[in-house]
Symmetry: C2
Subunit: 338 residues, 2 copies
């Protein structure tokens, strides 16, 4: 068994993303310029709706991965800037479609685009940004990169459909759930890190090491997100607490609490998650059951395990400021919840 301890003290952890941002500051500003430039269109609704999401202060975690991976591998050109922007466009497109699919109302602390403009433009502007992502990749002239991100996009869509089939279904096992997470969330983290190495012209083994780092980090990230939905504070999270519960999403904390619950607990879960019959106090009761069964702390323990695997994957790569920043990033991801 691996020790789940983080390698950074709490104060350092909070600074991990900031330090990564400081390391790639020029690249990140160039990425933001490309994003602002390429979300333009003669059709005014498109940049308006895109800006609503793109400029709402997301963490830019995925493009940061591309930039750090590229610099870690000694990239010098500007291909990694275009690829980072392209990764963020794919992510934004999936968010727009997700919010339509989930009928969400709050994202990054603001009303969702589907709530402000309706579902129709959200679907179409998602398609637009997705196309723009591929146009940007074309400019890097690398068929390999196009292949990596096209495959990731297909896998993301598969993951989203799997999640749809699993939603409101308490028969979903932990194994199936991890497959969903690997596809819908971690596949883009994986591709984002991998294309950075490919842009730097590194050997396939290095690209694969970074791909594995991204995949494991993505799983850790999603598991922490799932835990935060039942334990985070609304202000710091930028989304509504209990969203997953109200939507009847079957995430790992629910799967474990259901598996370990009494017959009475299971009756509660079936009513709340499968039948979507929820009343006042049900969210609090769900949280109490998770605490009693230890399902939240086990979710976080699993997340830490994947974060450690992510860090291990980096071992064959050069040791430099960028690889150290990626190690810290893995610690940060799981330290968001304590």
């Amino acid at each position: 068994m691996r020790a789940p301890a983080a390698t950074l003290a709490p104060d350092d952890i909070d600074g991990a993303v900031d330090r990564l941002i400081a390391l790639v500051r020029d690249d990140l500003e160039a990425v933001n310029d490309v994003i602002r430039d390429r979300m333009q269109s003669p059709v005014p609704l498109i940049p308006a709706l895109a800006a609503h999401l793109v400029e709402a202060g997301g963490k830019r975690l995925r493009p940061l991965l591309t930039l750090a991976a590229a610099r870690l591998c000694g990239s010098t050109g500007d291909a990694h800037v275009k690829l980072a922007a392209s990764v963020e466009f794919i992510h934004t497109a999936t968010l727009l479609h997700d919010d339509v699919v989930d009928q969400s109302s709050l994202r990054r602390g603001r009303p969702t685009a589907n709530l402000v403009w309706g579902n129709q433009p959200s679907v179409l502007v998602g398609d637009f940004l997705f196309s723009r992502a591929f146009q940007l990749m074309v400019e890097t002239n690398s068929v390999e990169v196009l292949g990596i991100l096209a495959s990731a996009s297909a896998v993301i869509a598969e993951g989203e459909v799997m999640q749809l089939a699993a939603s409101n279904n308490l028969q979903t096992t932990q194994a199936i759930y991890l497959q969903v997470v690997a596809a819908k969330t971690a596949a883009l983290f994986e591709a984002a890190a991998k294309v950075g190495a490919v842009a730097a012209g590194r050997p396939a083994a290095d690209a694969q090491a970074l791909a594995t780092y991204g995949l494991k980090l993505g799983i850790a990230f999603q598991l922490v997100d799932d835990a935060l939905d039942y334990s985070g504070r609304e202000a710091s999270l930028g989304k509504t607490i209990g969203d997953d519960f109200r939507e009847g999403k079957v995430t790992l904390p629910v799967i474990l609490a259901y598996a370990r619950g009494s017959e009475e607990d299971r009756h509660f879960w079936r009513r709340a998650i499968e039948d979507r019959k929820q009343g006042d106090g049900d969210l609090s009761r769900a949280i109490a059951l998770m605490e009693r069964t230890g399902s939240l702390s086990e979710t976080i323990r699993d997340a830490r395990f994947y974060a450690e695997e992510a860090k291990d994957a980096l071992s064959p790569l050069p040791k430099n400021a960028y690889s150290r920043a990626l190690v810290d990033l893995a610690d940060f991801c799981v330290a968001r919840v304590r």
Copy 2:
């Protein structure tokens, strides 16, 4: 002024698509194999939903364009087969998203996917097919082709958003409407024909000639579709007559009838199209107003004009069975309505 006469007798016209299909039969079978193979996924809902649309007997007009253009230009490899399948996947993805956006209930004579499975999987399976399209293009190893189809996809999304802004808005001018049609429909016809020439390795001028053919053909095709929505027979059309009217879509027949209508007519159009207050007999009244103002016949006249321009665009290209089939196809498109 150009004479709008078709160059084929009516009986020949009906056979035009069949003759084109016969010319590229082996290629088309290979395309159908690729489509069936690549819409597979370990997630069962994806092929089920995709098959509902892909196998519903669409005309495969866009992949036929790619195949005919490639063969016209002497293509020998199998890149054009993959590109044709990729074009059909992009088309299918836009249909899935369109039907969600339009809340349509009938497509190709069958209930729409959004009606059978709901909006959520329709959005996500559209995303999946779009990604698969790019994976197929990657296999042809041509960044040029990826650029052409990524740009076309962005333009299609822009056209759809423009159409959304124009819907229920009788201030939409004929010029704006033609921009919408060029983007949402004709851009894919244009790209479909162009990538065929590129796959065959023809000079840029030939690829551009085929692109122009596709663009003009696409505009003609859409204008005829708009006319058929008010004049076609339901069985042969495979969709509900009056769909555009009920959705308050401002198409060319409506724009012209509104511009030429009396004050009383305009009051009717505003109520039916802008306020969406429609009752029994309103569709019949709309058709009667279109006949009185000549708006349907002018729409068809315009479509014939674009079909002639499409045929003219082919003049610099080799004269062979494929170029003759493309000429006949342009005549067929406008002969669907008489």
